[in-house]
């Protein structure tokens, strides 16, 4: 069933146990970077908040002479910081959304590459390796700032070496980072498209009075049909005047020129042509004939 479809470079096919192939779209590197930055900002803000709260509570307890409370506060601060740094990603991705708040904002999620359940092991593995991909380059970066000439060169070499791990997603087809590679995961888009209106429910063809010959309908294939669908969905149906560069005007002119058709409102012409073309191509589908685009014989 996939052979008839045009797949973008970011689409991967998942075979469900029911035998249906589902197309999954990989997340962009940009989306993932933004999600990571958002999560880091949340973590830093939470750490700052935690520190201020711990300082206020701890100092208050010390002044009040309660060393035990100060001790508890100090431990909460230590362990809280550790959990924020190492546990934030793990706890969110092990949850039902399999996504951190940053990922959810960017509408992406983590999934196992083989389509199976995302295990806790996988979540732990992919997130602990961030130590190698993010914190290691970072440590070389700050090391460089603080020391002399000779070790600065060593730090630069270390930075370049460690960056080779961080930049891995740019150099493989599936945009896997080191953590994904080890955990057997990838990051997918999780779109929530709304079901648009039924295109065929709009104009009744008989009422608009457009008629097309078989030759006129053979001018195009599925690709053009779906391009036309997008144009029609984006257009305003009852616009009184359309500017010359309106897609409806441009596309209508192109189709009329190709099939030799004249007269009538552009939008209604396109709607009628869409319905007629779709009926003809779908009838072909039932007969086992696909016509992918206008150049398909």
């Amino acid at each position: 069933m996939a052979e008839g479809r045009r797949l973008s470079a970011a689409v991967r096919l998942l075979q469900t146990p029911e035998g249906v192939e589902l197309g999954l779209t990989l997340a962009d590197t940009g989306q993932r970077l933004w999600a990571f930055l958002i999560d880091q900002l949340i973590i830093i803000a939470a750490l700052a908040l935690l520190t201020v709260a711990a300082l206020l509570l701890g100092l208050g307890a010390l002044v009040g002479g309660s060393g035990a409370v100060a001790e508890v506060v100090a431990v909460l601060w230590l362990v809280g910081g550790f959990v924020l740094r190492n546990g934030w990603f793990i706890l969110w991705e092990a949850g039902r959304h399999t996504a951190t708040p940053g990922k959810r904002l960017m509408k992406i999620r983590v999934a196992a590459r083989d389509g199976s359940r995302l295990s806790l092991d996988a979540v732990v593995a992919r997130n602990l390796l961030r130590e190698l991909e993010f914190f290691l380059p970072l440590s070389f970066l700050f090391h460089e700032a603080g020391t002399g000439q000779a070790s600065a060169w060593a730090a630069l070499a270390g930075l370049l070496w460690s960056l080779s791990f961080a930049l891995l997603p740019l150099f493989n087809r599936d945009r896997l980072r080191v953590g994904d590679l080890v955990a057997g995961t990838w990051v997918l888009r999780s779109p929530r498209p709304q079901l648009g209106a039924d295109m065929l429910a709009r104009p009744a063809m008989a009422e608009t009075g457009f008629r097309f010959t078989p030759a006129q309908l053979d001018a195009y294939g599925e690709y053009e049909l779906q391009t036309l669908e997008r144009v029609l969905r984006a257009a305003i149906p009852d616009a009184m005047r359309r500017p010359a560069d309106d897609p409806v005007v441009v596309v209508a002119a192109a189709i009329r020129a190709r099939i030799g058709h004249q007269g009538g409102d552009d939008y209604q012409f396109l709607s009628a042509y869409y319905a007629a073309l779709r009926a003809r191509l779908e009838r072909g589908l039932l007969m086992g004939r696909r016509r992918l685009d206008k150049d398909d014989a």
Partner: protein, 332 residues
């Protein structure tokens, strides 16, 4: 041509109109399930969800084969994918997962990493030997192995009495919780680094094992010179049995990754890595727990138990307990 066309278009419209309510119902259930816990769904909902998922999937198949409505197909595809991850994603409760982890997954993962565990242990012992021999011959080496902030006044210039005081120092129980908290976070971070850096062909992990061992060896040499070896080992091993075991296991997890990178065998490198990552991650979850136990021992037990014999007793009991838990024969 227009004779047959309206028929097939009408059929397509009916196909969609008849099923649209089901799709909306599935979407609603998924929304509810993702928002709250599973408890947000009634039993009837839980039964309905897989049925609706399969109906949507079959509608997708029909639509792909007979319809050219790109919008409809895209909608059905993403709805099916969303439902797929839910239907095949939700398995057992947190309680069940925890029980399985402790009863089977963790010890099994540790056993699988036995060769790397032995290698990590050998590296650490080699480091200990190097540290001990070098410092015993020339105490000036001590500073090379042990960072000043960690040595905390325990250096070759310190007197025997001062060293002894660090082993059996009086404690009133104050500040121990903070110490335990600090030790746990610090050691766990080191363990995570040892694991993650294993990806770089295992080399940084090996270096980390050796340097940890060297630090240990340097300390032993320092106390050995003053005839305090037995005391030091009791002080060290009461928590060290657990802590060093955990560090060795973290190193083993790192080496396991490095081995998959270097020698993937017949598998593709990515497949080998993935196969290595799963037990290594399970071991790492366990390592965090072990370090928590070690920190409590180090923060409390070591400061409160000052008799050598009792320290050795706790150390031996802990170590034997871990070994039995991980490596004891299991039926089935």
């Amino acid at each position: 041509m227009s004779g047959a066309a309206p028929d097939s278009l009408a059929a397509m419209r009916r196909f969609r109109a008849e099923r649209e309510a089901d799709w909306a119902a599935l979407e609603r259930l998924l929304d509810a399930a993702e928002k709250g816990s599973l408890k947000a769904l009634s039993d009837a909902d839980l039964v309905a969800l897989p049925v609706l998922y399969r109906a949507t999937l079959s509608a997708l198949s029909v639509a792909r084969a007979t319809s050219l409505d790109a919008d409809l197909i895209a909608y059905l595809e993403s709805l099916s994918a969303r439902a797929y991850f839910f239907v095949y994603g939700v398995k057992d409760t947190v309680g069940q997962r925890l029980r399985r982890f402790f009863a089977a997954d963790w010890p099994a993962a540790v056993r699988r990493l036995l060769p790397e565990t032995l290698a990590a242990l050998a590296l650490m012992l080699a480091g200990t030997l190097i540290g001990f021999v070098l410092v015993a011959r020339d105490p000036a080496w001590f500073d090379a192995f042990v960072p000043a902030d960690l040595a905390n006044g325990r250096n070759p210039e310190a007197s025997a009495a001062a060293l002894k005081a660090t082993l059996y120092g009086e404690s009133n129980g104050r500040g121990l919780t903070v110490l335990a908290g600090f030790l746990f976070t610090n050691n766990a971070q080191v363990a995570i680094v040892a694991f993650a850096l294993g990806f770089a062909a295992g080399l940084p992990t090996a270096v980390l094992m050796i340097s940890t061992g060297a630090m240990l060896g340097a300390f032993v040499a320092l106390f050995h010179a003053q005839g305090l070896t037995a005391g030091l080992l009791g002080w060290l091993m009461i928590h060290g049995g657990t802590e060093l075991f955990a560090v060795v296991l973290a190193g083993a997890a790192g080496l396991h990754l490095g081995r998959a990178v270097l020698f993937p065998g017949r598998q593709a490198r990515s497949a080998a890595l993935q196969a290595a990552g799963q037990p290594a991650a399970a071991v790492m979850i366990g390592v965090a727990l072990m370090l928590l136990v070690a920190a409590l021992l180090e923060g409390y037990a070591r400061q409160l138990i000052v008799a050598d014999a009792a320290r050795y007793g706790v150390a031996a009991a802990m170590l034997l307990g871990w070994l039995a838990y991980f490596y004891r024969r299991r039926d089935g």
